[in-house]
């Protein structure tokens, strides 16, 4: 009886946004009279960071400090329509709607500043620190605050913007499945190292390493949150979770967290992530969206690592000790496969 190490990998891509399109998002932005902006959305933050992603996208587009922008979501009386937070669509679809709204607001902002400075709006730039100045002549400048005050109390302009992003709906050919499913795809590859006990059938994930291509990491700290949390969920799906342990027999369903198994804080493994950025041609600053795909490569990588360790293919999830032990027994013992570098 022994513990066998194994290594497996998987590589995946993931479509960003609702398949076939037809999933609009809208955004509204307006400024207080002192140049502080509010973004009004009906998008949902269920932990993925919608509020912060749109805040950064809005500030970047407006050309103002991030602290000068707050995102207000979600109230159906103030936030315009959005399909919702699912299908990895938030960053891509809502990010683009916010860009569109922020561009409109920025246009008015620069027009108002141009009127104050008596120049063409096209000659103006923002410095991202709350100032607007003539391109190449930083001394000919006005603050965003003074501009907003002038717009409100002197010029009678609304520094505001509306935005919508919609990928038009595609049809599907019934016979061939021809369609326009999505415009942006993210990519990943992941290696999992596991140890399998051939006496108990227990799998321990020792460590994982991945490379994720995400278009643009709009906030790297939140990308890390998603990818680390998603990898944990991947381990959980691969080795632990099922509400129907004898599927398709639905009986014996777990009723609570005592019966529904998930890895605890003591079951996590070191995880090293490398992010690649190939901007999506139609993404907000090239952004795609890692929210859903971050669990996907973990499941097969662990299954392949288990095979590499003991020579058992488990084709039915989750990979329970029982299934591994039955496989080892059927094979007449553990059959470790060739090592693939690494530790």
């Amino acid at each position: 009886m022994a513990r066998h190490r194994g290594r497996g990998m998987a590589s995946v891509n993931y479509p960003i946004g609702m398949n076939l399109g037809g999933d609009p998002s809208q955004a509204l932005i307006h400024s207080n009279p002192d140049g502080k902006f509010t973004v009004a959305l009906s998008a949902i933050d269920l932990g993925q960071g919608m509020k912060q992603v749109t805040r950064q996208v809005a500030a970047e587009t407006l050309g103002v400090p991030m602290e000068d922008v707050y995102v207000d979501t979600a109230d159906s009386d103030t936030g315009p329509h959005d399909m919702g937070s699912f299908a990895s669509r938030g960053t891509h679809r809502m990010g683009n709607a916010v860009i569109a709204a922020a561009r409109e607001a920025r246009g008015v902002l620069l027009e108002a500043a141009a009127e104050e400075l008596e120049v063409n709006a096209g000659d103006l730039v923002t410095d991202g620190r709350g100032n607007i100045h003539v391109k190449g002549a930083p001394s000919r400048s006005i603050t965003v605050k003074a501009t907003a005050q002038a717009a409100q109390f002197k010029q009678g302009k609304t520094i505001a913007g509306r935005g919508i992003f919609l990928i038009p709906l595609s049809t599907v050919d019934p016979q061939t499945g021809e369609m326009n499913p999505n415009t942006a795809f993210a990519h990943a590859s992941l290696v999992a190292d596991v140890e399998v006990d051939d006496e108990t059938g227990e799998v321990t994930v020792l460590k994982m390493a991945s490379a994720y291509e995400l278009g643009r990491a709009i906030n790297p700290k939140m990308v890390e949150q998603q990818l680390v949390g998603g990898a944990w969920m991947g381990i959980s799906h691969a080795l632990y979770e099922t509400p129907e342990p004898y599927y398709p027999d639905p009986s014996h369903g777990p009723r609570d967290f005592n019966e529904y198994l998930m890895p605890g804080p003591g079951d996590i493994a070191p995880y090293s992530i490398t992010v690649l950025e190939r901007p999506a041609p139609d993404g907000p600053f090239g952004g795609k969206g890692p929210g859903e795909m971050c669990a996907n490569p973990v499941l097969p990588a662990i299954a392949n690592a288990v095979y590499n360790a003991v020579g058992v293919r488990v084709n039915d999830l989750p990979i329970t000790p029982e299934k591994i032990l039955r496989g080892i027994k059927a094979n007449g013992g553990a059959r470790p496969q060739p090592r693939r570098g690494g530790g």
Binding site: D45, L46, G47, Q48, G49, K221, M222, E224, Q225, V228, G229, G230, A231, W232, M233, D256, F257, N258, M262, G264, P265, G266, I268, Y271
Partner: protein
């Protein structure tokens, strides 16, 4: 069933209420006193989102009868900060991005506080043990463990 009076301190302030003998503390806090820091996650002591301190001890408010809190001091996440100044553990959670949806965070913070007040220099294993009663479905726990270890290293959490 006849209700009984209960008086206790909540985050340093006196509170009084009438409760049914079977009412739990979580329901009293949330629906009786509008203290929404502790959350309902399971109602049976398996998730930790309702974690509070009672006289400094870690307790699950969903399994605590409200009437038993008579004369005691109940502390929730809402009482952690010192006015506008965040508690060192709250600060560490922010710095380590140790929350995503934020629903388990009040219970996690309270569990971390109980841990560090009892053991200001825990090992990683002791931190894991300290939050093992708290379920998080978003983060994969790593950032939470790191945040608690960092708060301990800061030396700012005082032994209770």
């Amino acid at each position: 069933m006849a209700k009984v009076p209960v008086q206790f301190r909540l985050n340093g302030s006196d509170r009084a209420a009438f409760v049914a003998p079977a009412d739990n503390l979580l329901t009293l806090l949330r629906r009786g006193l509008n203290e929404f820091g502790p959350k309902y996650g399971c109602g049976q002591g398996t998730c930790g989102t309702c974690t509070v301190l009672i006289d400094g001890e870690l307790q699950l408010s969903c399994l605590t009868l409200a009437a038993t809190c008579e004369g005691r001091h109940v502390e929730t996440v809402s009482g952690m900060a010192n006015g506008p100044t965040l508690h060192p553990i709250q600060q560490a959670f922010m710095e380590h991005f140790a929350a995503q949806c934020g629903f388990c965070t009040p219970g996690m913070l309270t569990a971390a506080r109980a841990l560090l007040e009892a053991n200001p220099t825990p090992s990683r294993e002791e931190v894991i043990d300290g939050i093992s009663g708290n379920i998080c479905r978003c983060t994969g726990y790593e950032a939470i463990i790191e945040a608690i270890l960092a708060a301990a290293r800061s030396g700012q959490v005082r032994r209770a």
